[in-house]
């Protein structure tokens, strides 16, 4: 692979096709399916929001897309085909490594902790460049500067800073810069705003939105905050207990949620206008080890709309209208 990256302004955006993906964690109590038979098409050029509570498997899914599930997790079966790269799960190690960074950029959950505390940010940019055989390191630094400046930061100061000299919001931006500096066409953001206050969150989201539009990239946003997805994403994918519960176009899902879990998540958002009594807390606890073992619907324990059938059979994940899929026995086909 050459050292000069192509400017992908006019190239076709990269899509990802996930088929029958299964990731298990080996624990003392046996094998826990963190991601269980997931089929998902991530459309190129769109922002896809994957939402779920703690333990829903959303972060594991993100790591599986990169084929970088940490021990003791293991990808058991399935395929993750990235356009122009191939199946991440069968590529040889070196091509995988090259794809991560150059094709797939990843912004970690705790960007605060993903930087090396002992070297300056600028040196880490150079390290990244060397490990990806970039010949024009000066150009790489220039691009890093452009990106940082683009995100409203004093680029020279940031590049010469150590991570502890940067605030949470600034580190998150530096994380985004690292994901984009090699011109990745797919950017995966894992809980990019969780540790940030509202204002930093809003500006980080604004940055993601504008860079996404400018560069025609594919963005995957992983979060537990329905508000973040509702604001930013083109498509929503709702995950529960390692499986997909619902997906569809954002405005459509927000306005007409079909799965009882999705409805609950939307109702649980406190709002700044309108009637407060409309906000209702979601009952029960997020899925735990026991949840994965039950044969019926994973959401059965917490579901206000459950029927007898739900306890014995797991609902299939089926099409429920254009661009819409739902796993629930209670959902009637759209009229």
């Amino acid at each position: 692979m050459g050292a000069e990256w192509p400017l992908n302004a006019n190239t076709k955006a990269v899509g990802i096709t996930i088929r029958d993906l299964e990731v298990v964690y080996s624990t003392g109590q046996g094998q826990v399916p963190a991601v269980n038979g997931v089929d998902l098409d991530i459309a190129g050029g769109q922002i896809t929001g994957i939402i779920g509570e703690s333990g829903s498997g959303k972060s594991t899914l993100a790591m599986a897309i990169m084929n970088a599930v940490p021990h003791p997790g293991r990808i058991v079966k399935g395929s993750v085909v990235v356009d122009g790269v191939g199946n991440m799960l069968t590529l040889d190690k070196e091509s995988q490594r090259r794809a991560r960074g150059r094709n797939l950029g990843f912004v970690f959950q705790a960007a605060q902790n993903s930087l090396n505390p002992l070297t300056r940010v600028g040196h880490q940019v150079l390290d990244l460049g060397r490990s990806h055989n970039v010949r024009d390191l000066r150009g790489l630094l220039r691009r890093a500067k452009e990106l940082l400046h683009r995100m409203g930061m004093d680029a020279d100061r940031v590049l010469t800073a150590y991570q502890h000299e940067l605030s949470g919001g600034m580190r998150q931006r530096v994380g985004i810069m690292f994901a984009l500096v090699l011109d990745a066409q797919v950017v995966i953001l894992d809980e990019p705003t969780t540790a940030l206050d509202m204002l930093s969150q809003a500006s980080v989201l604004e940055i993601v939105r504008s860079i996404h539009e400018e560069r025609n990239i594919t963005t995957i946003l992983i979060t537990h905050d329905m508000g973040v997805v509702a604001d930013l994403a083109d498509r929503v994918v709702v995950m529960y207990g390692g499986e997909l519960a619902e997906e569809g176009e954002t405005a459509e899902v927000l306005a007409h949620p079909a799965h009882p879990y999705t409805k609950g998540l939307i109702r649980a958002i406190p709002r700044i206008s309108g009637d407060l009594s409309q906000a209702v807390a979601l009952s029960g606890s997020p899925p735990d080890l026991k949840t994965f073992m039950q044969s019926g619907c994973l959401f059965y324990d917490r579901c206000p709309e459950r029927v007898a059938e739900c306890q014995v059979k797991r609902p299939p994940y089926e099409s429920a209208g254009p661009e819409r899929k739902v796993a629930c026995f209670r959902v009637m086909p759209h009229d």
């Binding site: 206050d197 509202m198 809003a202 604001d231």
Partner: protein, 334 residues
């Protein structure tokens, strides 16, 4: 009732290698909370809102001003009384994962403060158990299922409920909730917020709610007062819904703009704006508006004169050019 007048807190500077000057964390903050009332402090990380909460909970001294809790001045009461006064103010901290000792069961965590209470009123062990069940019931947990558990066996939301239950054991009249829900999954936050709201209504416990999230501040204290804090000073204050629906200060408007807009249900307010620049923690010039460096509407006057709070007594704002802007999302008609 709590009354705070011209509160000020200055942290001494670190002279030496970095040569920082003293940091003014809180400047000229005054407010009062009636029994059963609610006050929320909103602002970014580092704006000084946590310091205010810690001062009220007695964990931090203040440099100047007066803090009166039920008429007693914190600076002048003797040590005995101070303890009794401060027991009535309980702090609920941000991180329920660190607030509980991982090696002790919930029963042990709750029985310590209850033993102190029992001793004070000459009650026996039966009273302790009874009271324990009562507070756990109040926070919406099943006593039998949680008392023998360790903190790691509970979810974030359940842990925060335990922390609240522990605060309730000493029968406080004021709860100071400092970012009490920000570490909890969004799906479970509302449950904890509802609990705080119910405690206010049922037991007349006043609530001081410190947060960066305007929406949750509104949920627990719709009928209360809201204080928008910027760099230790009040930028805007007033009845909660008034501040949210008719914000006058550009900083309040930025915070309101930052609330995510739900596609398909809402459309963004016509004047929504989000400042890309981060809060700088450096010293601000004495005679300039604190928010001027980030304010998109700043004029030359803002650089040379610090605005004082102005406006009708109910709703005040520290801005030279106050103007209402429509930044809150509007619900779409079905």
């Amino acid at each position: 009732m709590i009354e705070v007048r011209s509160l000020e807190k200055t942290f001494p500077g670190k002279h030496g290698l970095l040569g920082h000057d003293a940091v003014k964390a809180v400047q000229d903050v005054s407010f009062r909370i009636p029994d059963g009332g609610a006050v929320s402090f909103i602002g970014e990380s580092g704006c000084g809102k946590t310091t205010i909460g810690r001062i009220l909970a007695g964990l931090e001294n203040y440099t100047a001003g007066e803090v009166l809790i039920d008429g007693q001045n914190l600076a002048t009461v003797d040590r005995r009384q101070r303890e009794a006064v401060l027991r009535r103010v309980q702090l609920i901290q941000q991180d329920p994962y660190q607030a509980l000792n991982p090696a002790r069961t919930i029963e042990q965590a709750l029985s310590d403060p209850l033993k102190v209470m029992a001793k004070a009123r000459g009650a026996d062990t039966a009273w302790i158990l009874e009271r324990m069940e009562e507070v756990l019931g109040l926070v919406g947990l099943e006593p039998q299922t949680v008392v023998h558990k360790y903190p790691h066996m509970l979810s974030g939301g359940q842990r925060q409920r335990i922390v609240i239950a522990r605060a309730l054991t000493v029968e406080p009249s004021v709860l100071v909730a400092d970012e009490a829900v920000s570490m909890i999954d969004v799906s479970l936050r509302l449950g904890v917020l509802k609990l705080l709201r119910d405690l206010r209504e049922k037991f007349h416990i006043s609530l001081i709610f410190i947060t960066h999230d305007v929406a949750s501040a509104r949920y627990v204290g719709e009928d209360g007062q809201m204080f928008v804090i910027y760099k230790g000073m009040i930028a805007e204050q007033g009845p909660t819904d008034d501040v949210i629906l008719h914000p006058q200060h550009p900083y309040t408007q930025a915070l309101l703009s930052a609330v995510p807009v739900l596609k398909g249900l809402e459309s963004p307010g016509s004047d929504r704006y989000i400042p890309l620049k981060e809060l700088d923690h450096g010293q601000s010039p004495e005679n300039a508006c604190l928010f001027a460096p980030r304010c998109p509407f700043a004029q030359p006057l803002c650089e040379t004169e610090r605005p004082a709070l102005q406006g009708a007594s109910g709703h005040q704002y520290a801005c030279h050019y106050p103007q209402e802007r429509h930044v809150v999302a509007v619900a779409l008609k079905e």
